[in-house]
Symmetry: D4
Subunit: 150 residues, 8 copies
Amino acid sequence: MTWKVYLSGEIHTPWREELENAVKALGLPVTFYAPVTDHAASDDCGAKILGAEMNPFWHDRKGAGLNSIRTQTLLAQADIVVVKFGDKYRQWNAAFEAGIASCLGKPLIVIHPDEFQHALKEVDSAAHAVTDDCSKVPRLLRYIIEGTLE
Amino acid sequence: MTWKVYLSGEIHTPWREELENAVKALGLPVTFYAPVTDHAASDDCGAKILGAEMNPFWHDRKGAGLNSIRTQTLLAQADIVVVKFGDKYRQWNAAFEAGIASCLGKPLIVIHPDEFQHALKEVDSAAHAVTDDCSKVPRLLRYIIEGTLE
Amino acid sequence: MTWKVYLSGEIHTPWREELENAVKALGLPVTFYAPVTDHAASDDCGAKILGAEMNPFWHDRKGAGLNSIRTQTLLAQADIVVVKFGDKYRQWNAAFEAGIASCLGKPLIVIHPDEFQHALKEVDSAAHAVTDDCSKVPRLLRYIIEGTLE
Amino acid sequence: MTWKVYLSGEIHTPWREELENAVKALGLPVTFYAPVTDHAASDDCGAKILGAEMNPFWHDRKGAGLNSIRTQTLLAQADIVVVKFGDKYRQWNAAFEAGIASCLGKPLIVIHPDEFQHALKEVDSAAHAVTDDCSKVPRLLRYIIEGTLE
Amino acid sequence: MTWKVYLSGEIHTPWREELENAVKALGLPVTFYAPVTDHAASDDCGAKILGAEMNPFWHDRKGAGLNSIRTQTLLAQADIVVVKFGDKYRQWNAAFEAGIASCLGKPLIVIHPDEFQHALKEVDSAAHAVTDDCSKVPRLLRYIIEGTLE
Amino acid sequence: MTWKVYLSGEIHTPWREELENAVKALGLPVTFYAPVTDHAASDDCGAKILGAEMNPFWHDRKGAGLNSIRTQTLLAQADIVVVKFGDKYRQWNAAFEAGIASCLGKPLIVIHPDEFQHALKEVDSAAHAVTDDCSKVPRLLRYIIEGTLE
Amino acid sequence: MTWKVYLSGEIHTPWREELENAVKALGLPVTFYAPVTDHAASDDCGAKILGAEMNPFWHDRKGAGLNSIRTQTLLAQADIVVVKFGDKYRQWNAAFEAGIASCLGKPLIVIHPDEFQHALKEVDSAAHAVTDDCSKVPRLLRYIIEGTLE
Amino acid sequence: MTWKVYLSGEIHTPWREELENAVKALGLPVTFYAPVTDHAASDDCGAKILGAEMNPFWHDRKGAGLNSIRTQTLLAQADIVVVKFGDKYRQWNAAFEAGIASCLGKPLIVIHPDEFQHALKEVDSAAHAVTDDCSKVPRLLRYIIEGTLE
C-alpha cells in the first residue's frame, strides 16, 4: 500500500521538499499531495485563465475557486493530512483545510512553533500528533507505515 | 494520479474531442468520461435492446434507464465534472447532472455562452469555475493538475 | 407525522397556492416549503442586502448565493420534492434542483406539459411519479399519506 | 420551522447579542447557538473541572476537548453557520470551524473587515454570503427565512 | 422518546392491527408505520390517479412508483423494522424491504413460519430477532423500550 | 475502466457462465462477481468450517454469516448489480440483495420471466432495466460501456 | 435544546442514578439513555421471549440481538456518549460501544479508575474528556450545555 | 481482486504470522494489515518521536495518537476485519476496534477461547463468524474468496 499524504499550509519555506526528500531517503511508500505552492500563480490563476476582474474581491474569488478544485480533490483522497503553520501571514487557509480534513475523518498531523500553542489549541485538539519540529515527521511517518522506531 | 473528468452536456458539437485533444497535447494525466453522445443511439437504446414501446413516454423511460446506468456510475467516479450548455435544445439533462454532481461534492466547471448567464445563475453559483470559452478549459485543467500557468 | 413537501420550479403561475389549498381542503398533514417566489426579490436580493455589483455576473452570483441558503436547507429537510416545469423560461434551476433531490434520495414528483416529455426524459426517469396535470398531485399526496384513493 | 443558526468566531465584542436582538426585533423564528464566549472559562474549563495540568499544552488540550463537545454538537445541528472574523487575535479556530461547517454542507455566512479580504479568500469562496457589516445579517436572515426584502 | 416501528410484509391477515392493539395495551410509546395495506388500492393507485396504462408492466410501474414514495420515506424514518413473511404469495417485496432496512442499518425483526427457515436464512442472518410467533413481538418491544421482561 | 458487475440470484442454471462468455466474446472490460454458486457448499459452509450445529436454524445461521461476508463485500464493490429470478425456489435472497443494491445506489438490472411481472413490481420499479431474456444483457452492457448498439 | 446523553458501561453500581440526580439538581436540560441495566434480564431476554436454547452460545446470541436493538438505536440518537469502566468484569461491551460511538462521531466522555489508564489508552485517546471521578461529570455537562463553571 | 484483511487484537502470540503463512500456502489473494505489534514500540512511539512526557497519561496519549493514525487508516481500507481475543491482558483495544469495524460495516470474524463466550456476547453478536480456533480462519477465508470447501 502506498500512503497518500497531503501537505497543507505554509508555502514560503521549502518544508515540503525537505520532508519529501527525507521520506524518500527512508524508502517509505508515500505519495505526497499539495496545494499549488507558487504564490503568484495561486493568487492570479483565476484572472489569468478565466479573465480579469476589476474588483479584488472577485479577482480572489475566481482564483480561490480554481485552487479549491485541486485542494478539495486531493484532501478527499489523502490518507493523512499534515498541516504546517509558520510564523508569517494569517494562514487562515491552513486552519480551514484542517477543519475540512478533521470533518472528513482524516488523521491530522499539525506542525507549528511553540508560540502558537494556545492560539491553535482547538486545531491541535483535533490532531493525532502535534510537533514544533518538521524534521520529526519523516520518523513519524516511518513508524505509522512500517511500525519501527529506528 | 490520473484525474477523471466527466464531460456532461451538449452532444451536438465536437467540443469533447477538441478538449480531449488539447489536453492530450498538454500531456496531462486525464481520463475523460462522457455520456453516450450518439444522439440516435441514446434515444433508442432502450427500445432497441429491450423491446419496442408504443407509448413514447415509456420508449423514453426505457432509454433513460439504460443511459443513467452509465452516467450515474461515471459521475460518481469522476474527480471533476465539466458541464457545457450550448445554444440548442433545452438541455435540462445538463442541469440535472450538474445538480447531481454538486450534491455529490464534485468540483464543477460550467461552460455556457454569456447570453445564458442570468438563466444559469444557480448552476454557476454552485460551480468552481465558469467560462463562455471552451478553449480555456485545458489551461484550467493544467493549472489544477500541475499548478502552472504556462 | 407531518409530511414536508418542497415545491420546486415554475414561479410565474399560482400553482403552489392552488396545490396548498387543495391539500388543505383534503385535511392532509403537510407542510409546504418553496424557494422565494417573488421574482424581483429573488433576482436582486444579493445586491440589495449585501451591496450593488456593476457586473451582472456577480450581481447574479450574490443573489444566487443567498437563494441557495434557503433552497439547500429546505431541500435537505423535505420528505418529498415536487418539481414543476412550465412553458416559460429555460428553467434550468428546476432541473438542477431535481438533480440535487434525486442525489439526496428524495422521492421526486415531476409535473410538466406533455410537449416536454422527450426533453425531460432523464428527469422523469429519476422520478417516482410524472404528470402533466397539477391538479392530480393533491390526490396523489393523499394516497401516499393516507393510503386511500377516494 | 425554526431555523438554527450557529454563531462562530469573534468572542470579544457583543456582536452575538446585537445580532440576536435585531433578529428578535424582526420576529424571525431563529434559535441561536454559540461556543462558550466567556474567554476565561473557555480557556480553563478543562483544568478547573478535570484537574490542573502543569504543561500549558495539556492544560489547553483538556479545555479544547470540552469545548469541542459543545461546538461539534451544535455545528452538526445548525441549519446555517455564521462566522465572524474580527481584528484581534489570530482566530484560527474561526477558520477551523468554517472548514468543518463547509465540509458538513452547512450554508456559510462570513463576516470580516475588508482588510482581510485577500487573506480569507478561500473561506469566502466556500461561503454563500460575505459581508463586512454585521448589521446586514438580520436582513439577510429575514430574506432567507421569509423571502422578503423589506 | 417515541419509538417508530415500520411493519413490512404480509398484507392479507390482520397482524398489524393485532400487534398495534397488543402494544397499546402494554402502554408502550410506539408509533407504527406501514405500507398501504389495501391490496386493490396498492395495485391500481398509479393508473387510477395518474392515468390508465394498457401494458400491465407499466400499469404496475406507475403504482409501484407511488407506493415507494410512501415506503421509502417511512422506512428511512423508522427506528425498528418488523418484516412478516406469511404463507401466501411470493412476498419478494418483503425481502426487498428487508434488504433496504438492513442496508440502512435499521434493527430488523423477522417473523415467519418455521417452514421458511431455510429459504429465509440470509434475511434471518441480517435480523436482530427471528420468531415464528407474531404474539411475541409486543413483549419483545416492551423489553427493548422499557427493559423489563414482565 | 474495468466495470465490476455482480450477478445475484438464481444458482441452478448456467446463466452466469453463458453471460460471462457472451460478454467476453464482445471484448468488454468487465469483471464479474457472484455469490458462491455451489448450492451444497453454500448451505453447509458454516457447519463444515466452524463446527456442526444440531438445530437447523443455527446451522443455517452459521452458513449465512459466512456467505454474507462474501456477498456484502462484492455488492459494495460492484458498479452494476444484475439480479436474476428463475422459476424455482422462493429466491428471497435475490430480492434481499436487490434491496441492498438499491439502497447502496447501485444501478440494478433485473431478469425474470414475464409471469413474475406483477409479483416483482416493486423490485422492477427500483431497476434501471428489466428483461425476461438473459441473452439481452451482454448487448445491454455493451451499450452502457461502449455506447454502441451494434 | 434538550441534550441526549447515553450512559454506557458498568451496570453493577448506581452511578447512572447518581449522575441523573446530580444533573437534575443542576436543572440541566438532559435526557439520559442507557442499555438495560437489569443484569439477569439482559442475559436472558432472548431465551425468555423468543424461546430457550440448549447451547449457551446461542442463548447469548439471542439475548445480545435483542439488547443491540436498544443500544444501537439509542447510541445513534445520542448527542454525547459517556462510558464508565468499573473494576469488575471484563467490560468488553463498554469498549465495543465506545468504538461504535467514536465511529459515529459522537463526543465521548470516559470514566475509569486510574489503574486502567494504560490499558484504556486507545479509548481515552478517542475521548473528549477522561476522568476517574464520576462526580465531575455533572459539572462537565453543565459547562458544555450552559457554558458556566459555577 | 485482492482481499484486504485487517488482523486486530492479541499481540503476544505469533497468530498473525501463522495465519499469513497458512493463507499463503493456500495461494489466496489476500493482503494483511495489522496494528504495530511490537509492544514496546507501540507503547513508547509518541514519547520517543515527539518528546517525553512526565505524566504517564499524556505519555500514553501521545503514543495512542500515533497508533490510531495507522489503525484508523487500515481499518477503513480493509474488506474484512479479524479480531482475536487472547487470554492475557484486558484487550479493551480489541473490543474498541471491533466496535469501529462494526460501525463501518466491515464483515467481522472474531476469534476467542470458549471461556470468553459470555463476556464477548455483544461482540460475537455483531460478528459474521466466531471461532475459538485460529487455524480455521484460513479455510474460512478460502471459502469466502474462492467458494470452495476443500
